[in-house]
């Protein structure tokens, strides 16, 4: 804590623009609306991951679009894009069902953020990619299968 204080002070007294920027970043208060608890990310199966997120029996929805390759040659980098057409989408989670820890990422959206996220994930083997969308206090889901020829986890 003292070391941090010292750095901050040093930055503020003109050690350079970069130091000031870093200090500003360090001082930034943690934003509200925490994502899913860490336990959900450590869950070993889809059921436990959903439970960890506080989600039970999400409804299938055709308004969720998952854009991902049908066949991923390299499981280490699988581009995934999720678009939710559901009004009032506040969260999108991405789950790779057969990964050792299925919950890959959970995005909380606010302040005008649209129901869209795009990222790249690892997949251990051919599996369903599942998107879980929260909108208006309800949860919805959709899935798409991606065939993986070379796994991207472990090895």
């Amino acid at each position: 804590m003292n070391a941090l204080r010292r750095n901050v002070l040093k930055g503020a007294t003109g050690a350079g623009a970069v130091a000031v920027a870093v200090a500003a970043g360090l001082l930034k208060p943690t934003q509200v609306m925490a994502a899913a608890p860490r336990s959900a990310f450590e869950a070993k199966n889809v059921g436990d991951a959903l439970k960890g997120m506080g989600v039970s029996a999400p409804a299938d929805s055709k308004d969720i679009t998952i854009k991902a390759p049908d066949i991923a040659e390299n499981g280490a980098v699988v581009p995934v894009e999720v678009t939710s057409g559901i009004a009032g989408t506040t969260a999108i989670a991405i789950i790779a069902e057969k990964n050792a820890t299925p919950l890959v990422a959970d995005f909380n959206l606010m302040g005008g953020a649209e129901g869209f996220v795009s990222t790249r994930i690892k997949m251990g083997q051919t599996a369903l990619i599942r998107a879980v969308v929260t909108a208006g206090g309800k949860t919805y889901t959709a899935a798409k299968e991606v065939k993986v020829t070379i796994g991207g986890c472990g090895g």
Partner: protein
């Protein structure tokens, strides 16, 4: 301090299209080192937050299941050209990084 991160933000109509490229090994803790046979310790980003002009727009939790050097794209309705996007991340070892960009 960690490697820099890159942000590109452009307006498309009234929606800002933000793309972030973070620099991180994203080790799951399940991979073995090819030479030593030892497990490589887990080292991955656990949390990413983004704000535009100081207002939070995204708060994400990540696992080691996100690819190395994570890419993240999101869209925000409402900002204007010249608004400032700030992205922060924290990893499981407590390392952190921040970057900012101007919407163009």
């Amino acid at each position: 301090m960690a490697e820099p991160m890159r942000i590109r933000a452009t307006m498309a109509g009234d929606v800002a299209d933000v793309k972030v490229l973070m620099n991180h090994p994203m080790e799951t803790g399940q991979r073995k080192d090819a030479k030593t046979g030892q497990l490589v310790p887990a080292h991955y980003i656990t949390e990413v937050t983004a704000s535009i002009n100081g207002a939070a727009v995204l708060n994400a939790g990540l696992s080691g299941g996100v690819s190395r050097n994570p890419y993240l794209g999101f869209k925000v309705k409402g900002p204007k050209k010249g608004d400032k996007v700030v992205v922060n991340w924290v990893d499981n070892k407590g390392d952190k990084n921040t970057a900012e960009a101007t919407i163009g």
